[in-house]
């Protein structure tokens, strides 16, 4: 670029920025391809690892008990074959060493140890505590089994109270009635009630409606997460640039605003290029019969989400450029990009569904660029578009102020 005799032009700077971006384009495309390959392998391995549709979504719990216990074997058989909990919970019978090993490997969410003679002890009015073992490092699956086991503990306690109460009543008040036979009859009443528990409620399904189902929700969350984390890839190259050439450009009349317009255009194009490649490959993959199970959505519908994401991508590009400008060095840039991405993704419900977050966090999450991006992806509205536009303008304005200050020598 000539700066001695003539004012540097916008196309020339755009060309220079483009050259820098091309330096990143090849690794960026490689990463995208690698990520997709990894995703494909993960999905393929996961689908081979699983035994069917039901097992795919169930929480796994190990049960350790003595095979010879007739009552327990019958009870567990009934649970596995007749009870509707089998749709949400997979029970695996194994010994304790194997259960502990599988818990460590992460192939079980928790396991339950039923001591020998547990049922006989119950009939005799004794309590032999069961042991429920979970891995504190485990996630939502363990939290849910923990909740489920607590529910079962309550059922057992209440049932015990009723049976012992009825036996005592028979022993003291009912002449000629065997308290144990009466206890057995009441146990059958309770067992029937537990197996028929579906009859106590009726389910009304509203359909997806204004909200999103799990698949679409997490598809939006993954798109937002991809766009957010992409900033990590660009950080070492974009955040380390020296100010000297930019100051020289500014001195030659090519000010902060024009520099930023070029940088923003190139950065956004680079981001969109990688994003579009990812989505294009994903759409192609969705047509493959082997991946149809993993992507149970018509490619046309996926394409709609892919195109919608262009609007949030414009905002995220501005935000990432602002973080690069703020950090002015690869150490700060990588950390700031990740910290901001993780915090915003968490608060906006990219990791956990937003309804699982505290109310204050939900409100904050909806107002952030990530929340507005998720809302726009789910269902574009004037409100989400307005919020995204606000964030875009704010990021660009801050970027311009910061660059101007740095060019004027206020900060290194």
């Amino acid at each position: 670029m000539r700066m001695d005799n003539e004012r540097p032009g916008l196309p020339a700077y755009l060309y220079l920025r483009g050259k820098l971006a091309i330096r990143l384009l090849v690794p960026a495309l490689c990463v995208t391809a690698l990520l997709l390959l990894a995703l494909g392998l993960l999905g393929f391995a996961a689908s081979r690892d699983r035994r069917g549709d039901e097992a795919r979504v169930r929480v796994s719990m190990g049960v350790v008990y003595n095979d010879g216990d007739r009552y327990l074997s019958m009870g567990l058989y009934a649970l596995e074959t007749m009870d509707r909990s089998r749709l949400a919970l997979e029970l695996v019978q194994l010994d304790e060493a194997e259960a502990a090993s599988r818990l460590r490997q992460g192939t079980l969410d928790a396991y339950l140890v039923i001591p020998d003679g547990f049922v006989e002890a119950l009939f005799a009015g004794e309590t032999r505590p069961l042991r429920y073992v979970t891995d504190a490092a485990a996630g939502l699956g363990a939290t849910l089994t923990d909740e489920l086991v607590r529910a079962v503990a309550r059922l057992l306690l209440e049932t015990e109270n009723a049976i012992y109460g009825a036996q005592s009543y028979a022993a003291e008040r009912l002449d000629g009635v065997d308290p144990y036979a009466l206890g057995d009859r009441l146990t059958r009443v309770y067992l029937n009630s537990i197996l028929d528990r579906d009859g106590l409620y009726v389910t009304e399904t509203l359909g997806v409606g204004e909200g999103l189902d799990f698949f679409h929700y997490y598809l939006c969350a993954l798109i937002v997460l991809f766009l957010l984390l992409w900033g990590l890839l660009a950080a070492p190259l974009f955040a380390r640039e020296s100010l000297a050439p930019r100051r020289a450009l500014a001195a030659a009349g090519f000010g902060a605003l024009r520099q930023l317009v070029c940088e923003y255009l190139v950065y956004t194009l680079l981001l969109l290029c990688c994003y579009m490649l990812t989505m294009g490959l994903l759409l192609l993959a969705a047509r493959l019969p082997a991946l149809r199970e993993l992507l149970p959505e018509r490619p046309a519908r996926l394409a709609v989400y892919a195109l919608r994401a262009v609007v949030p991508a414009l905002v995220f590009a501005a935000m990432q450029l602002l973080f690069h400008e703020l950090s002015a060095g690869s150490v700060g840039a990588l950390l700031l990009q990740f910290l901001a991405a993780a915090a915003m993704a968490f608060v906006s419900g990219c990791f956990y569904p937003s309804s699982a977050l505290p109310t204050g966090m939900q409100t904050l999450g909806r107002l952030l660029p990530t929340g507005a991006g998720m809302a726009y992806l789910a269902a574009p509205s004037a409100a989400s578009l307005g919020l995204l536009a606000f964030w875009l303008l704010l990021c660009l304005a801050l970027l311009w102020l910061l660059r101007r200050r740095r060019l004027e020598g206020g900060a290194a």
Binding site: T107, L200, E204, P236, G332, L334, T359
Partner: protein, 367 residues
């Protein structure tokens, strides 16, 4: 030795001179404490709107609202409001109790099931199926009393008074803990919202190491290291990755301690030190193999996605242990949960440093 110390001081001085780096270090405990404070507000894996309609359902609702649970319960004024909450996504499901809940529970004894509750959902999923088990457990104390009452009345041939029934029901009351929970206490203490914090911070720590590796390559390209002895390549690489990690580890240690996420300050310090040492070796190896800032950025993105997906931060993926064990946060997170794994973390650190040394020697020979 003096030379190495001098380089370390120079790098540390450069790091701490950057206001953004200092702000990030301060942000780490601030964000964790903010998350800690916000989890004190009600939250749950599934948000359930409750709409009671009679005395029995009122008592069930009150019990659920008082209970500490992974589900969040909200009381609703009427059935329409509950349905609206589900339709708008404010609640995942609504339990609308019938005005005859008590009678429905009693009638179930004779097999005449009139629905006591209408469960409203947008779609079915495992969480909601498990939530329905919670609904049954919530109804169970009332249901159990109803079954007990009907059964005894049948057996005795006469109806017993409420007070009498309650007395017999509690005649041999069992309040013993029927299930002993192991490992669940720390899970419950952390709560599902705070549970991924440690994992996310460990990823941040690894990124600090990678950013140090990127800084080294940037300095090399800019010719800032021409004064360094050619033999000090490995020492420099380790210093560049280790120092930002040590600074970040200090902030992480404070954050975990202040948020009450560490069982003991000393044990936490030991585990973080091992993660830092192992992570520094790992990042130095990655930096040595990449040898250009943009390639390190590429590796940072790949490794972040891999660590988020494979290490037990949010998910506990089945069958990928052989891959996840190569990533430093995996062994660290498992060592936190199970102290017996700590020696493996130390072994990992030693192996990572040995591999870095080997890689550096091979690369120097090739150069």
């Amino acid at each position: 030795m003096r030379n190495a110390l001098h380089w370390c001081l120079c790098i540390e001085h450069r790091l701490l001179r950057r206001p953004v780096f200092l702000v990030i270090l301060l942000l780490i405990p601030a964000l964790v404490l903010a998350l800690n404070a916000s989890t004190k507000q009600g939250s749950g894996v599934v948000t359930i709107a409750l709409c009671p309609a009679d005395a029995v359902s009122e008592s069930v609702t009150d019990a659920l609202l008082m209970e500490e649970s992974a589900f969040r319960f909200l009381r609703c004024e009427n059935a329409d409001a509950a349905r609206r909450m589900v339709a708008e996504g404010t609640a995942d499901t609504a339990w609308i109790f019938s005005a005859e809940t008590g009678a429905a529970l009693r009638d179930s004894y004779r097999g005449a099931y009139a629905p006591a509750v209408t469960v409203v959902e947008r779609e079915g999923n495992v969480f909601l199926q498990l939530a329905r088990e919670k609904l049954y457990a919530a109804l169970y104390p009332q249901l159990s009393r109803a079954l007990f009452s009907e059964f005894l009345s049948d057996e005795a041939g006469t109806a017993l008074s409420e007070a009498e029934l309650e007395a017999w029901y509690r005649h041999v009351e069992t309040n013993e803990e029927i299930i002993a929970f192991e490992g669940a206490e720390s899970l419950r203490q952390a709560g599902y919202l705070r549970a991924p914090v440690r994992g996310l911070l460990s990823i941040l720590l690894i990124l600090a190491g990678l950013s140090g590796a990127a800084l080294l390559e940037t300095d090399r390209e800019a010719g800032r290291l021409v004064w360094a002895s050619p033999k000090s390549g490995l020492a420099l690489r380790i210093a560049y990755t280790l120092l930002p990690m040590l600074d970040t580890a200090l902030a992480v240690w404070l954050a975990l301690g202040l948020a009450g996420l560490s069982a003991s300050w000393l044990r936490e310090a030991l585990l973080l030190l091992l993660l830092t040492l192992g992570g520094a070796g790992f990042c130095a190896l990655v930096g040595g193999l990449c040898r250009a800032p943009e390639r390190i950025g590429m590796a940072a993105l790949l490794l972040t996605v891999a660590m988020l997906a494979l290490c037990p931060v949010f998910l506990n993926l089945h069958g990928f242990r052989w891959l996840s064990v190569l990533l430093p946060p995996d062994l660290y997170l498992r060592s936190v949960a199970d102290g017996a794994k700590t020696p493996w973390l130390a072994l990992y650190a030693a192996a990572a440093w040995a591999l870095t040394w080997l890689a550096e020697r091979l690369l120097r020979k090739r150069a």
